[in-house]
Amino acid sequence: MTTSVSPRTPAPRTSALQTNGFDAGPSAPGPIPFSRLVRVEWSKATDTRSARWLLALVGLGTVGMMLVPVLAPSTFDQTYTSYLAVASIAQVTLLPVVAILMLTGEWSQRSIITTFTQEPRRIRVLNAKLAAALMLGSGAALFGGLVTAAGLALAEASGRALEANLSVGHITGYLLYLLLNVLGGVAVGALVQNSAGAIAAYFALNGAFALLGTVSTLIADWIDTATTWNWVLDNDWSGHVPQILVSIVLWVAIPLAAGAVRTVRRDVG
């Protein structure tokens, strides 16, 4: 079990001593490029068994929901846009969880200690996690588009006539809708920095405001993302831009900014 160290002595790079073929590669390193941080964060979000199960669940959920309008046509509008909306249902439920775990996982596992000693500019790590989450959200949108196309193809193959009402605006709206929900998860995760707590807070707050929205149109139209961000999904911007922006400020900008401050200031370990 014990390996002799003499042939491969780790030698300090700055010394004049030879490194015995044990060097780490290019020396005189500059700052870590942001692209590298993003790639590493992407790996961390996708390379564990639990992460893959969760992503598989997102995929299965997306496919499973698509079977509903395909197999039970009477329950859904047989239009391209309503199929695309169906693709988003499972995604916006689970993608925020994925995003939360991308932000909180290292705090809960405490491997954040290693990450911050490798890149002490913590805001860059936070930004890299944010970027990786957005990449994941975009990938999910692409996947959702493919599943929608498959669902539509199946429906048309069964002899149904579907209304081809899909515009670039709708596709953009779908992508933005997913990314907004991912950002909502990122923001809560960045602020709470604990997996269980962040997931609980996310669903409790969303549920609470959805509930309040049923008794107050003011809350529904300005705070409840189930209303405001659905306008984005439906490509229904006219007259809704202020409401959408306000809910973005409340659910993304403020918690993310507070999370950034907390990330930078917090004592780790």
Partner: protein
Amino acid sequence: MITTTALTKSYKHTPVVRDVSLHCEPGTITGFLGANGAGKSTTLKMIAGLARPDRGTSTVDGRPFVELPNPTRVVGMLLDASAMHPGRSGRATLTIAARMAGVRTGRVEHLLDLVGIADAADKRVGTYSLGMRQRLGIAQALIGDPWALILDEPANGLDPDGIAWMRTLLRDFADHGGTVLLSSHLLHEVQATADHLVIISGGAVVAAGRLDDLLASSTILVRSPDPGALAAALQAAQIDYVAGPGDALTVDICGGRVTTEVLAGVARDHQVLLSELRQSETNGLEQLFFSLTAAPAATAQEVNA
């Protein structure tokens, strides 16, 4: 070089670290010794930029840690071997560290081999023993080919073989000009590994210096066939002594002011015959450690004086 100046930190008004100043030179292993809760980990975390000091500064390679562009290439850290994702394999864990540091991933295989966990490299870290995690953590610290190492309780969980292996590795690292700062609550561990020692108790440094100096006896035993004449001579030379053991006298070295040479001179001047003159038996680091940490407030003054 690793330097701290008067690092001080409180948690909720309880002082955890008080005015801790360290100075670790290239080519040396500094043991940071203290009981659990003495403030070792907090000090190391402040050096690593993980905890914010209330006062004081620390530098690695002449710069604050958080200003190092790619710290992994300068200083390897092992602060908590249990702080790893249990679902990732040892190889994957090390590969992530390698990619962060921007080193060739071939180095991952070298290090897995070096720390002796190549056979378990594809097993998940969650299945590792603490000793294996320590080994993986040491590999992680070495990944960037750094010239300094900061290790918090690296011997924890290692079997005797593993501890011997780690000592050799750290000695090798220091002999090649590396700087090592390692903490431990185990006296014999530090005694066997370090050549410089900083003892911390209650958040404050109570002793610091070369291990040899700290281990050196602080008293000299002097014996004469005529104890009365010897005592008179010492009194005349204003050197404090206590009687014993036996008919010998024991003299405090007073921080190095009094040496065997000085005492021989006193004996000659007063024409007292000496039958024995030597350093007292050393009590070892253990006694030093316990004497320093048992009554920190009072002893700290004496040691620092």
